[in-house]
Assembly symmetry: C2
Homo-oligomer: 339 residues x 2
C-alpha cells in the first residue's frame, strides 16, 4: 500500500521548500527551468495529485453541489439527476445526492449537514411534507448564509432563489384541450391534494381548458387522492361510478393502472376511453397500449438547474437577482388516444 504523496514529501526528497514545489507544479515564472523540470518529473513519477480537501479549505470552494430530492426511485427525478450530473461534471463539479423521502425532518437534516462547508450550492425539489407544512425556514437560513439554491419542479414562492419548473398548467391544459377537440364528453382528472405544487398547477390547467369549453367543470369528475401513492380501491370505485370517456392522470402509474381496470371491464382504448398521463417514463412507453403523456423533460430541467446554480456560484457579482425558468412541456402522442 503506497499512500498518497504530498507537497511536503516532494519538498523533503528534493531538498527544496514546499512553496517552491507548489510553484514549480503550477509552472510559475518564479522558478527556474531546472527546478521545475526536476519537480514535475518527480511528481509525475510518484503520481502526485493535490488533495481536494486542502484546496477546498483554502479556496472556500468545494466543487460539490448538493442535490436534495424526495425520492430517487422515480423516473422523473432520476432523469433530472442525470441532467444535473452530466452538466455539473462537465464543469468539474461533483454531485452529492440526499433523499428526503418526502420527510420534512430528513430534508432539514440533510441540508444542515451539507450546508456546513460540504457544498457550494443546492439543487432541490421539496418533499411533500415540506409543502404540506409550508415551513421553509431551512431554505431561508441557507440562502441567508449566501449559499445559492435552485428549486426545481416542486417549488415554493416563499423563498427567494432561482427556480426551474415546467409549465404544468399548460401541459394539463393542452392535454385536456386534446380530449375536448376529440369530442370527449366526460373528461375525468385523477390528481392529488393541492399542497403538491405540481398537482395544483395541473388541476388548474385542466379546469381552465374545461371552463373555456361549453362543457364546463363537473366537480364529481375530479378524484383527489391524498398522495402520489397508488390507491387502487379509490381509483376503481371512482372509474366505476363516473364512467368517463377520457382520463387525465397526474402521473404514469395512475394512468397505467386505470387502463388495466377499464380493459378488464372490456372497454377499448382509445375508442371507448382515452388516457393521458404525466411523466414520460419507461412505463408509458412500454404500457399496453402505450400511454400518451405530457413529457416534462427532466434531463433538460436538471441541466438548466445545474447551469443556473453553477453560474451563480461562479459569478463574482453580488447581484441579488433571481430568475424563474419555465420549461415547456410537450405532448408525446402514443396509442392511448386516437391519432
Amino acid at each position: 500500500m503506497k499512500a498518497k504523496i504530498t507537497l511536503k514529501d516532494i519538498a523533503r526528497e528534493l531538498e527544496v521548500s514546499i512553496s517552491t514545489v507548489s510553484k514549480a507544479l503550477k509552472n510559475s515564472e518564479e522558478i527556474s527551468r531546472d527546478t521545475k523540470e526536476k519537480v514535475q518529473a518527480f511528481a509525475k513519477l510518484y503520481n502526485y495529485k493535490p488533495n481536494n480537501i486542502a484546496i477546498s479549505l483554502k479556496n472556500k470552494r468545494t466543487k460539490n453541489i448538493g442535490v436534495v430530492i424526495p425520492d430517487i426511485v422515480h423516473h422523473f427525478f432520476t432523469t433530472v439527476i442525470r441532467g444535473i450530473e452530466k452538466y455539473a461534471n462537465a464543469r468539474g463539479y461533483n454531485v452529492i445526492v440526499c433523499l428526503s423521502e418526502e420527510s420534512f425532518d430528513k430534508e432539514v437534516i440533510n441540508m444542515e449537514m451539507l450546508a456546513n462547508g460540504s457544498i457550494d450550492g443546492f439543487i432541490m425539489s421539496l418533499s411533500s411534507e415540506t409543502q404540506e407544512k409550508a415551513d421553509y425556514n431551512h431554505l431561508k437560513e441557507v440562502t441567508e448564509q449566501g449559499i445559492p439554491v435552485v428549486l426545481f419542479d416542486r417549488i415554493t414562492h416563499e423563498v427567494e432563489c432561482d427556480k426551474v419548473i415546467i409549465d404544468d398548467e399548460l401541459g394539463a391544459y393542452q392535454a385536456t384541450k386534446k380530449f375536448i377537440d376529440q369530442g370527449k364528453k366526460k373528461i375525468a382528472l385523477i390528481t392529488t391534494d393541492d399542497y403538491l405544487s405540481v398537482s395544483e398547477a395541473r388541476t388548474r390547467g385542466y379546469r381552465k381548458a374545461l371552463e373555456e369549453s361549453p362543457m364546463g367543470i363537473d366537480e364529481s369528475l375530479i378524484l383527489k387522492l391524498p398522495s402520489m401513492e397508488l390507491d387502487e380501491a379509490a381509483i376503481k370505485a371512482f372509474l366505476n361510478k363516473m364512467d368517463p370517456d377520457a382520463v387525465l392522470c397526474v402521473n404514469e402509474i395512475f394512468a397505467v393502472y386505470s387502463m388495466r381496470l377499464v380493459q378488464e371491464k372490456g372497454l377499448r382504448i382509445p375508442e371507448d376511453i382515452s388516457f393521458i398521463g404525466f411523466t414520460d417514463g419507461v412505463l408509458s412507453k412500454y404500457a399496453n397500449p402505450s400511454l400518451t403523456v405530457v413529457a416534462q423533460h427532466g434531463e433538460k430541467m436538471g441541466e438548466v438547474s445545474a447551469k443556473m446554480l453553477i453560474d451563480k456560484i461562479e459569478s463574482e457579482a453580488e447581484e441579488e437577482t433571481y430568475q424563474t425558468k419555465i420549461l415547456e412541456p410537450t405532448l408525446v402522442i402514443r396509442d392511448s388516444i386516437a391519432h
Copy 2:
C-alpha cells in the same frame, strides 16, 4: 446575509483563545463552568456549526462515500442507490454519485477525481466498456492507496476487494426450471454478450437447467444481443423464426417488448407462451400481463454494500481480508406464467 461564524470569531468576541472555545464546545473538563456556559450560549445564539471541510482535513476522514455506476435511469441501480443512501445516511455518511454512462474513460476520470481526498471509499458497478476491455488498473490503483472499494452486481474477480452480487446463475436456473416443470418445450433465452458479467451468469444458469433436463440445449434458441440496448428488429426476427413457448429475458424491457410482439401475433400469455424477466421494476408490475421476474433486491444490495464499506472504513484493523456476499434472488410470480 450573515456569513457562517467560526471558532476564531467566537474567540475574538469573548476574548478567549480558539483552543478554549473548541474545548468549551466539546464540554471539556479542562474548561471552567463559567467559560463553558458563556461559549456555548454564544455559539448557540449565533448558530455555530463546525466546518466540515476543516474537520475532514484534520481527521483525514470525509464521511463521504463515492458511488460510481454506469447509469441512473435504470430501476435496478436506482434502488441500489436508495439502499446505499439510506444506510450511509443513518451512519452519518453522504453519498457522491458519479455516472460512468457505460464509458471506461468516464469511470476512470470520476474515480480519480474522487480519490484525491473527496471520499473515504467507493461503491461501484463496472461500466460495460470496462468489462469489455477488462482493464481494471484504475481500481487497483485505488485499492493500493488503501481506499476501500466494494464492487456490486457488475464485478470482476481481478480486483481484490469486497464484492456483493446476487446469484444470477441461480436466478436463471430457477426461472428456467420453472418453465421446464410447467412442461415448456421450446425455452428461449434473450441475453447479451458474455462480457457483461451478469448476462454471462444468467446464461450459465439457463444452460445448467436445460442440461439437467431431457431436452438439452438448443443453441438456436439463444439470442445474444450486443448490449442491453433494445434491438427491436433482432428480437422480432428471432421470435418469429424460433416460435418458442417460453422466453427468459435478462431484463424487463426485452421481456415486455417481446410480450407485445407475441400478443400482436394473437398468442395468449401465458397459455401459448410464457415469459420471465430479470429486475423487479415498475415495468414488470404494471405490464399487461404483469411480468414474472427474478427479483434482484437492489435496495438490499445497496444496504449490504454500504455496510461492508463503512465497516471497513471504520475498522482500525489493517486486515487484508475480503469477502464476497452472494444474495439470493427470488422469483416474483405474476401473470406472464401459469400459476
